[in-house]
Subunit: 344 residues, 2 copies
């Protein structure tokens, strides 16, 4: 059987860790499926674009990016193409949408995915924008064309959330989801509780890589709202966008607010929640006081949790403890494995 | 397509709740799979045995048991057979092992399952005994005969634990499991912490149905050891029995021990743990002091948790919040759905 061919849109940290995982698991994949996986295209605006139907030398690509920050001139198939041209031209079975998120629009990732489906390609998205902004349309398009559409990484990295429901909780109807899904705000709230100043926390967090250069999308709750919309769209068929999620960030939380809560035995967490009753959807992100004995109070630093309530199984929670970039890579890798399983 | 036919060994609370769920989901199953599920045999030592290839009237069986504690004389197919005779004679595709657990031997459940496989029947076990005591043998027998063997309910009811690994974390190798898996001891430790006396807690717990008539199997850690063995056997191929699990119960924990721990910011929990390095397995159950801010400290009452560490996904935890009998029923129901999926 021919190798499964992937086109990667984006080659940031997660995509690089994913490429490393593909190399590490090359033999095990071939042994399990009787076919390999090869990357035939990679495109980024800053590191360059490679198109090579015979399979890109990932070891070399990773080495070049690590040493000079881009693909070197001697790379076979190096060319000047943008993501749309790559989707059009690449010899591939699956397009992997790994570009940076634009949380305010879900673009251009949504257009990338739509174009890939129109060209008859399966899609794996690690980008939550399209799932938050245009899930129903993209899902319908995939179904209409008989194509696969996987996106486990978009909420809590490779932690099974969408797969948990689809593969292990059949016949269960989701009635409510909630969780702590943004690690930046979780980290900031903890540091505030230790008495540190907001600016000081931001600076230290940026150095550690916990906090983005522009942290406003996290702090004002946009990222959490996008994840909430994604959860509701996939698990409850809500058909909403992040704009439908009532949103309050942590920008007004001070050490005093935290101390006041502590006096009452409470801890402040940025909580996401979504419910659905009949056709009515209620979704919000806001700082909430949780009891210090509550499981939610124990979710610290970069750890995250999602709780899913269903008619048949009551409330279950799944926690991802202090993930590294490898857990994001596994989310993409796991989706590739599902493609291999589905095409068996 | 013909209905899938089940023989139920046992008809206790969980089996009755499972029968109720089958009735509730009858139409949805037929719509999804183009075939129904019918129960063609039920056998218990106290309520009687029914053998009926056309399908037992579950509504009537449930009503009879609720009103007179056994199947009434006017039941079609009522007969005098034990479980082994039913396995031999029943017109069925799947044998469901739902008999009470004998934790010291895993019998007669292991013999039931062996016999069912020998007769060419798929098996669903809600009984953890066989998984803790004879997993490798039974698994090999099932594979040799090309039969299905599902047992999700044996640890944490219908919460995906085995399915989580098999269906959503492919290519991940488990390196460690741990958790709070026995709700009786968890409840007793909490009540002790409130200052209640051991005897008083047992009496109240028995009334509430949280505590068994003979609670020694829970209190001395046998139940937790059996679950630990089951986890290690299935998730790590450990090939151990509960006798290989170092076991210490909570029988020596007093209010004073708990108060001493509290002074140091700790909470005492009966923890299960299993690790595997190369061919070496280490497994134990014992009371452990956990930090009061730790997630484990928040696992209260009948709530339980299992944490699974893998090479590719680090540490994940899944929590089942305060389950009722329905969650046990769903474990069996979910396995029936997997049988339907596997035979598609």
């Amino acid at each position: 059987m021919e190798d499964l061919k992937l086109a990667l849109l984006g080659f940031g940290n997660a995509a690089q860790a994913f490429a490393r995982m593909l190399l590490d698991k090359e033999e095990e994949i071939e042994r399990t499926y009787g076919r390999g996986v090869k990357v035939t295209a990679v495109t980024t605006p800053t590191k360059g674009t490679i198109l090579n139907g015979r399979g890109i030398d990932l070891e070399k690509a990773l080495k070049d990016v690590a040493s000079v920050g881009r693909f070197r001139e001697d790379t076979e198939g190096l060319c000047q193409m943008d993501a749309f041209q790559v989707i059009e031209k690449a010899d591939c079975d699956v397009v992997c949408e790994l570009t940076p998120l634009n949380i305010a629009t879900g673009q251009p990732a949504t257009d990338h995915i739509r174009r890939a489906f129109q060209r008859g390609k399966h899609v794996i998205s690690a980008n939550k924008g399209p799932i938050a902004w245009a899930f129903d349309e993209l899902k319908s398009l995939a179904e209409e064309k008989g194509l696969l559409f996987f996106y486990e990484t978009t909420v809590m990295d490779g932690t099974p959330v969408f797969n948990l429901m689809e593969h292990t909780l059949k016949f269960c109807k989701v009635t409510e989801v909630s969780g702590i899904l943004n690690s930046t705000t979780n980290y900031i709230l903890e540091e505030l509780a230790c008495g540190k100043a907001f600016d000081e926390i931001l600076e230290a967090g940026k150095k550690k890589g916990f906090i983005e250069a522009d942290p406003s999308m996290d702090i004002e709750g946009f990222d959490a709202a996008a994840k909430t919309a994604a959860l509701l769209n996939v698990l409850m068929g809500a058909g909403i966008t992040p704009a439908d999620v009532k949103r309050e960030g942590i920008e007004n939380i001070t050490v005093d607010t935290i101390r006041e809560a502590e006096k009452r035995g409470k801890v402040i967490k940025l909580l996401c929640c979504g419910k659905r009753e009949g056709d009515k959807t209620e979704a919000w992100v806001k700082p909430v006081e949780v009891d210090r004995h509550d499981m939610l109070a124990s979710i610290d630093s970069t750890t995250s949790v999602v709780s899913i309530t269903t008619d048949l199984m009551g409330k279950l929670s799944i926690i991802e403890h202090q993930p590294e970039i490898q857990q994001t890579a596994y989310g993409i890798f796991g989706d590739v494995i599902r493609v291999l399983d589905s095409l068996k």
